[in-house]
Symmetry: C2
Subunit: 262 residues, 2 copies
């Protein structure tokens, strides 16, 4: 199945205790797409300025990311400049320049309107609703209405380096963050988590409880890759084997044999 992501496509300038990067690929939709496209086809809706280095998105296109919904508008691209100090949990924003993103009105291309999975990135909730109205999957719109009426069934609380909880009607599931020796740049980890989570659900088309748990683990795995390099660099290096290995590592990290007390 296919995932549609609507969100920012930006240029980030990041300083961490380990180095700095200027005008590298960033934005919610970019991190999501880089992560999810390792698992499933991805369609992107967003806007960039006339200054955006479109050629740098080529590796994503080669991997099946459809940019037909990425509009290039006159003006400057969304730029974010931030810094992480030794506490890598919180970014300090030094500068935000919305550019063409400030007038972003998502237009979902006809051929994107049937995507069964939609990730609504960092856009105004009114625009999020607007996106849902444009989708022609009745199942999805019904689901959206159900959510708006009843509240969500599954809630995921991401806690950065402290892992992620999924609360479901009858169960709680927890996946730790992978204990990396070196966290290089936390930017985008949350969107990469979403890309792994939704990408895995989209790939398997299975929304059962055990599969939702696995999806959380795939999300954590993809989040752990995101932070190993600046920008989306790590996602351009890895493949199915690396992902499978990290999921196995997660399994080893938390699994224990229950026994009754002797």
């Amino acid at each position: 199945m296919t995932v549609l992501v609507v969100g920012s496509v930006a240029l980030d300038s990041v300083e961490t205790p380990f180095g700095r990067a200027d005008d590298v690929l960033g934005g919610s939709a970019t991190f999501f797409a880089a992560s999810a496209s390792l698992l499933t086809p991805v369609q992107v809706v967003g806007v960039v300025g006339s200054d955006y280095p479109m050629d740098r998105l080529e590796p994503l296109v080669k991997r099946g990311v459809d940019l037909a919904g990425l509009e290039q508008a006159d003006g400057e691209s969304f730029r974010w400049r931030g810094r992480y100090r030794h506490d890598l949990n919180s970014a300090e924003t030094l500068e935000t320049s919305l550019g063409v993103f400030s007038h972003f009105r998502p237009k979902i291309p006809e051929q994107f309107r049937s995507a069964p999975f939609v990730f609504l990135g960092n856009i105004d909730p009114r625009l999020q609703l607007d996106v849902l109205e444009q989708m022609n999957s009745p199942r999805l719109v019904k689901a959206a209405h159900w959510i708006m009426e009843h509240g969500p069934r599954h809630v995921i609380i991401k806690k950065g380096e402290h892992g992620a909880f999924m609360f479901s009607p009858s169960t709680v599931f927890y996946a730790p963050a992978y204990p990396l020796e070196d966290v290089f740049d936390p930017t985008g980890a949350g969107d990469a988590f979403a890309g792994g989570f939704i990408g895995y659900l989209s790939r398997t088309g299975d929304l059962s409880a055990p599969n939702l748990k696995r999806a959380v683990v795939y999300g954590s795995a993809m989040g752990s890759f995101a932070v190993e390099r600046f920008s989306i660099a790590r996602f351009l290096e890895i493949g199915p084997t690396d992902i499978a290995r990290r999921v196995r590592d997660f399994h080893r990290l938390v699994s224990f044999d229950q026994d009754l007390l002797p």
Copy 2:
């Protein structure tokens, strides 16, 4: 097998956002013993003042805690007064009065000197060494020397509400903190964790890698009980069924079926 604990036996006065308690049972050895005695026999070495309400320790004695090494000295008991604000992760110490604990020189009773497991609570490292010298288990003393020469083989890093890691020579294991809806008073959670961890190892006498993982989970389970009430109150209510249920809950919380990507 038996566990020996050497540490503080105190009276705590605690304020949390949910209430306050005055002069309740506290101290590292007390929390450890209350927790571990649910799993294995415990021997306590410590000191209290002439003002200590010894009768309140009766429930622990009934459960197999041997207080033959708990000296009652002339003077005041160790008292700690602290406060937790909304961030329940860090205690603010309002007052510490060491009393007779300031001259504590642990004397290990003859019949305690063969305990195969020893928990050295919050006492001066010189006193900790002194305790080890008094033990007549050659295995233990050899182990202690080995540790001092080579550094520990297994390192547990407890992160409070963010769970606990165990780093072993070839593996990393992680147990989350149990997601309680109400954390009432975090005092003693770390010692209760140690009580569950060492208590389980003592009960099973099994130091294999899979059993060490289980022991971490028992530690986390006992830590999660500690915070549900003031002082050691929760440990006086629960029994094997409650413990088994919480360990099962931990298993459910983190376990997922691995699969290869379809």
